[in-house]
Symmetry: C2
């Protein structure tokens, strides 16, 4: 009898945890929709709970305030994005810069609405720098796994990764204001710049 009821209790606990996780996911999905529609500042917690079909009190079981819900949303989307890029890049025969840049742009483009809302919300620079650090770490791995390491022996790899991150980040920032060029063309332009550089006439007097 005792064991049975214990088991029942665990099952109930487990169900409760699952339900809480689902409610939290529903709230985040609803928040995303409302933020995209009304913008960060005009969105209220009531808007979010109505869209998620839960009571306002439920919101506060999961998040302190609108800001925390939004930051959680951004962090989760960014985490998923990171996982997607890593999985996609790893599925290739070899990790090249081309594959990495294409994958980053494709996944980031799909989430570009969220980046714009983050900007409008008054997001902090330290948060963006964390995102850039993640891209830079990925690039360091690409550079370290280069098929011909000797080609990079004269480079300061962390600094190089930091600089290249800037090009990729700006490609994403470009989409804050406009949708074109799309991800594949953006990757192409970025890769052309990184592969060949700019015309020599820009650097010296002719």
């Amino acid at each position: 009898m005792k064991d049975n009821s214990k088991e029942e209790f665990t099952t109930r606990q487990h169900r409760g945890a699952k339900r809480r996780a689902k409610t939290r996911a529903d709230l985040l999905a609803a928040a995303r929709k409302v933020f995209a529609k009304k913008g960060y500042h005009d969105t209220s917690i009531l808007d979010i709970t109505e869209a998620a079909d839960v009571g306002v009190g439920t919101f506060y079981l999961h998040f302190r305030d609108k800001d925390e819900a939004f930051n959680t949303l951004i962090d989760e989307v960014f985490h998923i994005l990171e996982e997607q890029v890593i999985a996609e890049v790893r599925s290739h025969e070899a990790i090249t810069l081309s594959v990495t840049v294409q994958s980053i742009f494709r996944h980031a483009y799909a989430q570009r609405d969220l980046f714009s809302i983050a900007l409008a919300s008054g997001a902090q620079v330290s948060r963006t720098i964390r995102v850039e650090d993640t891209i830079a770490r990925g690039l360091i791995r690409v550079f370290e796994q280069a098929s011909r390491p000797a080609d990079l022996q004269d480079y300061d790899i962390p600094l190089l990764a930091c600089l290249v991150t800037g090009v990729i980040a700006q490609g994403i920032i470009w989409w804050f204001d406009q949708d074109e060029p799309g991800p594949d063309e953006m990757a192409e332009k970025v890769l052309a710049l990184l592969a060949h550089g700019l015309p020599a006439s820009l650097f010296t007097l002719t």
Copy 2:
């Protein structure tokens, strides 16, 4: 008589405006020193007024709060930096990308303490993007004045300026954590990347 007193009044007004401007400049210079020493969060308005040798009330004649004083400081320093770079670049025979990049890095390096404090203060992304827009506008001018415009006819110049801005911005962000390489070496590395690109073996399977 009447004219005389009017003149005297204007002179007195003029003196008052000059004194106010001086106090404001003193407060900003003091704020900069205190922020650099104690960090953004640990700096109080009292610290600033003591360093400027004025009463606390005087502070509030010029700024609403610590945040406004800091943002004013950042905006002024950035404005001066912009003017310095423009003047330096214009003093050259021709505006090349090399001259522009070297000048930006040299002036930004001298102010790097302030950039780090700005980051620690929880500065907003929208502010950074404004800075990047200024750099991008400068680069567009460089590209448009290229000695051989035909070299750039296949490029989307605003997008190119946006991407190149990323490399420059990351060079400055690099200095948030470390002082090396200095401005000239940083400019050299950035220009090498922009002129020649990265080794081909990074882009394709070999």
